[in-house]
């Protein structure tokens, strides 16, 4: 048939009962917060990863009494240790700190040049540890070669940084969960308000034989549209802020805000689009549950 009348798109009057102001605004604010939370977690994770690599790989070896000779050994203790390190492939960039450098390192602690105090200083060797496992075997070997030799890595730091990262990420996850719960609560309140405002209409439609599921779908679709709009806006508004923060962290890496935006880490680019999707699920699901629960109070 040529010109059938169009069925009214909004016969429940949802456009006014669930207005496009407050809900998108609240959801947008929450998406904004969530975006910042995710960015914070991502930033701390990548920062920690850097630290951890550096700390884990830094090898410091102290040889006390470096110029002495141990019994049964024809080289000095220092030479013995250096010689042994050369045969370990995982110990790279082996270098001995000059006595002057050691003095410089220590003088802030001692208040004066250690040489003036006549203290016996250990020799300090630095290296980059590229081995897969720990340094336990190396430590034991060097101890045996020149007793009293100390082998340090940043393992202690690694542990602390790992703990810090974990707690920061737990905080970010908690923020996300709380934001999601508040989001669901906000949607539920808005849905209830809309139902109360359209109670008469919905009761009539119910008594005319509409399925609960059909009524719930109509309302959930409206809520879906509002929450997605809000979440998209909130996430989009967070982008310039994130770019600005990224630029604060590395001013020379990104000459402009837009390049800073492109330089945001990949996991962040994967997580941010998930926010509107998540908001859609929360909005739609909460609205469905709320409406179906409300309809159950009708006969």
């Amino acid at each position: 048939m040529a010109n059938l009348p169009h069925p009214p798109a909004d016969f429940l009057g949802l456009r006014t009962a669930l207005s496009d102001r407050l809900l998108p605004l609240l959801v947008g604010a929450m998406a904004f917060l969530a975006a910042l939370g995710i960015a914070g977690a991502e930033a701390s994770a990548s920062l920690a990863a850097h630290w951890q690599q550096d700390a884990a790989a830094a090898l410091t070896i102290q040889v006390p009494d470096p110029q002495a000779q141990d019994a049964g050994n024809d080289a000095t203790r220092l030479a013995a240790v250096l010689g042994a390190l050369k045969t370990v492939p995982a110990a790279m960039n082996v270098a001995q700190l000059s006595p002057a450098a050691v003095n410089q390192l220590l003088s802030p602690w001692l208040g004066t040049d250690p040489a003036d105090l006549g203290l016996p200083l250990p020799a300090v060797i630095t290296a980059h540890w590229a081995g897969a496992g720990g340094v336990g075997a190396l430590r034991a070997a060097l101890q045996k070669l020149s007793p009293g030799t100390l082998v340090d890595t940043g393992a202690l730091w690694t542990g602390r940084v790992a703990a810090l990262t974990t707690s920061l990420q737990a905080c970010a996850a908690a923020v996300l969960i709380i934001v999601a719960l508040i989001g669901a609560a906000v949607v539920s309140v808005a849905t209830h308000a809309g139902l109360a405002q359209r109670r008469e209409t919905i009761v009539i439609v119910h008594e005319l034989g509409a399925f609960d599921g059909d009524i719930a779908s109509l309302i959930a679709r409206r809520i879906l549209r509002l929450t997605v709009t809000g979440a998209l806006t909130g996430t989009a508004l967070a982008l310039p802020v994130l770019a600005w923060l990224a630029r604060l962290a590395a001013p020379f890496a990104a000459p402009s805000l837009s390049t800073a935006l492109l330089g945001l880490p990949a996991p962040l680019w994967a997580a941010l689009p998930a926010l509107p999707v998540l908001a859609a699920f929360i909005g739609w699901g909460t609205a469905q549950l709320t409406v179906r629960g409300w309809l159950r109070t009708l006969p």
């Binding site: 059938l4 439609v205 005319l208 034989g209 609960d212």
Partner: protein, 226 residues
């Protein structure tokens, strides 16, 4: 078709949540056969509307057994209840048209809720609007219609899906004699076409003009059947 056995009804108390009102219907029993027509009469406040609400599944009885269109309603699933409601046409005492929909869309609403095709709906709505004499008012919103016109739109919405059971609650209450006469002719015509019809009224003149068995209730009790 419609069967009541010792049906009692109380409402939830508006002022005291959790408490119930005194019984509004007390031990009602009757049966209306398929294709029958019944007046439902009694003084204002006797319980006519309440009894009709039980039939169109708008209230649950406190106790007793009810069957509508052969279906016991006590433990009916929600979607089954919706399907049953679609086979019952109701003309409410206060019309209950949707204010934001025009006459056409109000009449089409039950069929759209039942997911019928627009082509189908269009033909039926046009036919029923002609039948109630309001073809020229299809675009009017309820507030633009007179009481009598709203009444006829409400009747059109109730009968457009050819219900097996038609319930009309004081359908002539707001009408002058001519309009009331016209509405009654519509309802009796439907009854002749096989629809079971129940009409609540306290207009005795109208009842005399259209003789049919009457159920009479007073203070929630059935005092006459036939």
């Amino acid at each position: 078709m419609v069967l009541f056995e010792d049906v009692w009804l109380t409402y939830r108390h508006a002022a005291h949540p959790g408490a119930n009102t005194p019984e509004v219907l007390r031990g009602i029993s009757f049966e209306i056969p398929e294709g029958g027509m019944r007046w439902l009469t009694g003084p204002s406040g006797a319980g006519k509307t309440s009894l009709l609400k039980l039939i169109y599944l708008s209230e649950h009885p406190a106790r007793g057994h009810i069957e509508v269109l052969g279906t016991p309603v006590a433990k009916i699933a929600r979607n089954q209840a919706s399907l049953l409601r679609r086979r019952i046409g109701v003309v409410y005492q206060d019309f209950r048209l949707l204010p934001q929909l025009n006459a056409y869309d109000n009449i089409a609403l039950p069929m759209r809720l039942a997911h019928r095709s627009e082509t189908n709906i269009h033909a039926d709505v046009l036919e029923i609007m002609k039948w109630v004499g309001l073809s020229h008012r299809s675009q009017a919103l309820p507030f633009e219609l007179s009481g009598g016109e709203q009444q006829r739109i409400a009747i059109a919405r109730a009968v457009v899906s050819r219900p097996k059971l038609l319930i009309a609650d004081e359908p002539t209450g707001n009408l002058d004699d001519d309009q009331a006469q016209r509405v009654m002719l519509l309802l009796t015509a439907l009854n002749k076409l096989g629809t079971t019809v129940i009409v609540a009224t306290h207009n005795t003149t109208l009842m005399q003009r259209h003789p049919a068995p009457a159920l009479r209730i007073e203070s929630g009790r059935l005092v006459q059947d036939g």
